[in-house]
Amino acid sequence: MPDNYALFRTMLLIRRFEERLLAEFSTGKLVGTTHAYIGQEANAAGIFSVTDPGDVVFSNHRCHGHFLAYGASSPEGSDPYRLAAELMGKATGLVGGRGGSQHIHWRNFYSNGIQGGILPVATGMALAEKVNKTGKIALTFLGDGTLGEGALYESLNIASLWRLPILFVVENNHYAQTTPIELAVAGTITGRFSAFGITTLERDSTDVLEVQAAALEAVGSVRRNGRPVGLILHTYRFSAHSKGDDVRDPAEIARAREKDPLLIHAPRLTDAERARAESEVAAAIADAFARAEADPLPNLKDER
């Protein structure tokens, strides 16, 4: 299992990558849209520190953090270069510029920008792993807002009924775009899973070690029992939903920032380790964006 340094480095990589992206958007260098993972880094870093690179992941619109942490769990480590290239619409991007921010694929990692639609697909992926007897599991991510989509409940029912090895990760950052959870979600999140006979683990923490421990238990349970589990992580995003408007109370954001996952985890490293992580990450991101920027744009004629 990755050590404290690796966990910190993964979270820092996500943080600095997203900050760089937002900066590029605000100077007009990038067009389209993006959904920053800033504030939620402990979730991805914790979860992908206990998964197997062969496990299958279906992520959502807020996928950069998941992707970078998934990459960090691969033998070669995470390379932000091809994600940067994708966001710049380059031919060398993860999907050749066709998908952009919300629509990426690399190895066993997939994402799509339709809320809820990915959940039955991830359920089907779990079925494929099961019938192929690979011992791998499927993981899928949804936000609090996506609890509104009916496809989730159809998926939970089938996953439970057919005993499928899938982990549903609910990242409750308390808002869907601008809508607070109080205006969108009746009842409880755990109750939704238990209604289908699915066990849940719940953590209200931005401490990567706590998330890691919960994820270890959840992933282990799915793998051992071949049954779905819900991992419910209460969290907060520090930046706006996408690029622009943020209607949340600044005081609320400031309070949440006191529980910054980087601040919580940093004291577990020495000063020298922190400095090394900062410089490694800065170099990796500078290199990724510089290479991506120099890459060619795609051309439809070349593709045909």
């Binding site: 619409g89 339709i114 009916g150 209607v247 744009l297």
Partner: protein, 337 residues
């Protein structure tokens, strides 16, 4: 000068003010945000009881609105991106649009579903499409698309007043566009003949009827912007005169104005942002083939998106979607024959 966005927003204010049966439903429509594209801005402040911000539940939004409509209210539902109409298809096709006829005309479903369609903003494959073609021809459903010439707010008011369900398709790039004024700017040489009610469409002909037009451009929504630009360039650079038939109601649609124009020009180009195959233009051409007296003398072409998803990367998106250049290119080819 008012924009399409202001016109739509004003008409919602007016409709809610004058008719207590009008309700709004949609995701993130409360102030201060006022909706992803701000069409509903100010309404939750003015009418807090009748503006219902919803969970992310597109099928339920339209289903609930449809139930409200069946029981005498006049709901206007917003679907945040037109790409998500696939999620409401069952509620529209198998529920809202069917009820009136299936129940032997004993009920009405005065439901409006508004949604922004279209690309060119780099939003990628799931937030850029023009999927209205999937809903054209659905029995019982009216499909309406505003443009910069008519008053978009008036169209929306007519949609709200309509006793049948209306899918109201707003191209994203139209929101910031100013409304055109007849006799001004590039419209100065055109005589504008309205047709159809209550969703007014238009034929644009040269005021000087002695001018023989070479080509008819048929379009709707944002593509009217491209078609106008293309018509202007064709006129200035090639002395090719175009008439434009601009549809506001896409389904069901009136064929006669197009037949009249075609009788003058013998050449027709349809322009749409949805995919080419089995699209809007295909039905128009098929109808003309059935109805035109001298179809064999006429020449036709369709400009549309390539049959691909809409890519995120700009050069790919540009190559996939129709442009002023592709319209001009197609027009020149048509005029050579």
């Amino acid at each position: 000068m008012s924009t399409v966005l202001e016109s739509l927003n004003t008409s919602l204010h007016k409709a809610m003010h004058t008719d207590e049966r009008v309700y709004l439903l949609g995701e993130d429509i409360l102030d201060p945000y006022g909706g992803a594209f701000k069409v509903t801005r100010g309404l939750s402040t003015a009418f807090p009881e009748r503006v219902l911000t919803t969970p992310i539940s597109e099928a339920a939004i339209v289903g609930v609105a449809s139930g409200m409509a069946l029981r005498g209210l006049r709901p206007v539902a917003e679907i945040m991106f037109g790409d998500f109409v696939t999620l409401i298809a069952d509620q529209i096709v198998n529920h809202a649009a069917k009820f009136r006829w299936m129940y032997n005309d004993q009920v009405r479903v005065p439901l409006v579903v508004r949604t922004p369609m279209g690309g060119r903003r780099g939003y990628g494959p799931t937030h850029s499409q023009s999927l209205e073609k999937m809903f054209l021809g659905v029995p019982g459903l009216h499909v309406v698309a505003p443009n910069t010439l008519g008053d978009p707010g008036q169209l929306l008011e007519a949609a709200i007043a309509d006793d049948d369900p209306v899918l109201f398709v707003e191209h994203k790039l139209l929101y910031t566009r100013p409304l055109l004024e007849a006799d001004k700017g590039d419209l100065v040489d055109y005589e504008i003949q309205p047709f159809g009610a209550p969703f007014t469409s238009y034929v644009l002909r040269f005021t000087n009827h002695a001018v023989k037009s070479h080509l008819t451009l048929a379009c709707y929504g944002y593509n009217f912007e491209l078609a106008r630009q293309a018509a202007l360039e064709l006129l200035m650079e090639r002395e090719i005169f175009c008439e434009i038939v601009l549809f506001s109601q896409l389904s069901p649609f009136a064929l006669d104005p197009l037949l009249d124009s075609l009788a003058r020009t013998h050449r027709l180009l349809t322009v749409e942002e949805g995919g080419l195959t089995l699209g809007w233009g295909a039905e128009i051409l098929a109808r003309l083939a059935e109805r035109s007296n001298d179809f064999s003398r006429c020449h036709f072409h369709r400009v549309a998106a390539l049959d691909l998803p809409i890519a995120n990367s700009k050069p790919l998106e540009d190559a996939i979607l129709p442009s002023v250049e592709t319209i001009i290119h197609a027009a020149l080819e048509l005029c050579e024959v």
